[in-house]
Symmetry: C2
Subunit: 347 residues, 2 copies
């Protein structure tokens, strides 16, 4: 990667929400625009985006319904976190050439006068990890598993999207406390990666016709922690395997995001509530940042140490060019990514 | 109530499960039998049942499916807890005339050689309270509300079956910590009882056509703790009112027990999971006895004190005669009881 600090560009590319998707998003829901380069604001930074993070939660922001954050408006730039280079700074402590983390959205440059940006040291870890294993996805895995799930040695932890940035860390963190890690992923290659590279104890292909049966075989002592990031059919296969007092941190429901057929019957709610009742289950939804104040620093220490000594591994799925972000995002929602989805915006 | 201690009877009446209900139970699912009086067993007690407790969980035991306890077999005596008088004792510390709590099931007499029975002091509290406000239903309310729900002053607690033995105590315990108590009950009389006698802040009739709207009005600051003991349509009305970080102890799902139409679509699970996720909800199923070791003694102290100084009130719905237990049970599942459902077996 070559970075041309201080290069002068006259315009900024950005991707806006052109229309709201009905079901899975398509290319037509996005529009690439070119706008004038913003000026450096008083007390702010002028940023050039190097890497943009694409994450499943962004799908929710494309809908016009109340969630934990307000939706992206039609014609507004898609939201997102990125690793940026400081082009110009009017903020003490930041200088041109610094690498920072910022919520710029899907654009090539941004004038930033928001809260303090976390400065990254490229010598400590590859800067892209701040969007993955050492960033929001990694902390989601850490907080959900260790703060809510609390697996004990000998227990079984199951997680879907096991080759993705959250799931892959959930399994590796589970093994670090002596739990059995069972991954669920789409396709033989991702399953092989989970067991051979990430050292999950087992990985099951959710596309297999006898998926539920295979999952049961992989969890001979049931499931004590199910880290829920997909919902849908995987949840239905997990539900009968949950042990009494099992914990279910819920950090995402990618299978529901585009609403495909989920409202048609049968009504699966009574069966879920019955298991909650008779097995004394805990279901706990969460957003990673509710735990930041107390747990972000120990997370960074734990995962950085795991990366350093090889107990933790990760994989990135990098697409080149901001103009290709919509296709990469759509592919990620369909499970076509393999590892943390990133867009290399400047190169 | 007159009790003729030591009266000699030649036979025992008992009610057995004649057949498994399909949907709501009917009289045909039960059979009254007469069997010989059992003999006092070595180290045991011979008990005469005075009051039998009827509780919603018994409906689950009538089905042939795995739950937290094994089902009642066809031809077996219906399970249940009762307040009994000791007729004869071969157990140190127990003498004829003592009043004890035992799991005798639906019968007039029982030979008991199970675990130690809790002895009741009729001078301290009416003996029937050991089956209600000072017994399993009361402890269910206490543990679910205080251990899982943890309401704070100024928060809103909602509970259904508000005139019943669990719901009525949930609301009164909520008020004791300064929370707003909103009850849901079937019919104007039960609602009036909840507000006037039990001093709930509001009570809503779930049979009202605009029930969901009325509930929203009664919870102007949303709901922080919903004590779930009914499920079904009440849950659907509660769900949109739950605040971020709301807690939902789940102790029962009476609306689901007889399965009426619950599996027909639409599929309500995705909407519930979405709220769990976006509002960081905690759903926690529980059985009261998982908390007994740590919390039963403080429960007894707290509730006995509340009864003594009038902050806690209760109501009993007593049916006379074991032969009328099936009708009382069926009526309770339909919400026709008003207060804790008991059967006076001996009088």
């Amino acid at each position: 990667m070559s970075r041309e600090a201080g290069v002068s560009e006259s315009s900024v590319k950005q991707i806006v929400l052109a229309s709201r998707p009905k079901g899975p998003p398509t290319a037509e829901n996005f529009r690439l625009e070119e706008v004038p380069m913003p000026a450096l604001r008083a007390g702010g930074l002028l940023l050039r985006v190097l890497y943009l993070s694409l994450d499943p939660y962004m799908r929710g922001r494309m809908d016009d319904r109340k969630s934990y954050a307000k939706p992206v408006g039609i014609g507004e730039v898609m939201i997102g976190e990125s690793v940026c280079e400081v082009v110009a700074s009017d903020r003490p402590g930041y200088a041109a050439g610094d690498i920072v983390l910022a919520h710029t959205g899907w654009r090539t440059h941004a004038a930033w006068d928001g809260p303090a940006s976390r400065k990254l040291d490229p010598a400590l870890a590859p800067i892209t990890t701040a969007l993955g294993v050492l960033g929001m996805p990694g902390f989601t895995a850490y907080a959900g598993l260790y703060v809510i799930g609390k697996p004990k040695a000998g227990e079984t932890v199951a997680v879907a999207a096991a080759s993705g940035p959250v799931g892959s860390l959930v399994g590796q963190l589970a093994r670090m406390v002596g739990a059995r890690a069972v991954g669920i992923a789409g396709g033989a290659e991702k399953c092989r990666y989970a067991t051979e590279e990430l050292r999950f104890d087992a990985a099951i292909d959710h596309r297999a016709p006898n998926f539920a049966q295979q999952l049961a075989v992989a969890c001979p002592k049931g499931i004590d922690v199910y880290f829920e990031n997909v919902g849908g059919a995987v949840w239905q296969a997990v539900l009968p395997l949950l042990n009494t007092f099992a914990r279910v941190p819920v950090c995402g429901l990618i299978a529901h995001y585009s609403g495909g057929g989920q409202v048609a019957g049968p009504n699966l709610l009574p069966a879920t509530m019955r298991e909650v009742l008779t097995k004394s289950l805990t279901l706990r939804g969460f957003i990673n940042y509710e735990f930041s104040a107390e747990h972000f620093a120990p997370f960074l220490r734990t995962v950085a140490a795991g990366l350093a000594d090889g107990r933790i591994r990760y994989r990135e799925d990098i697409t080149n060019g901001l103009e290709n972000a919509p296709a990469a995002f759509i592919g990620m929602l369909e499970g076509r990514n393999f590892g943390k989805t990133l867009v290399r915006v400047a190169h």
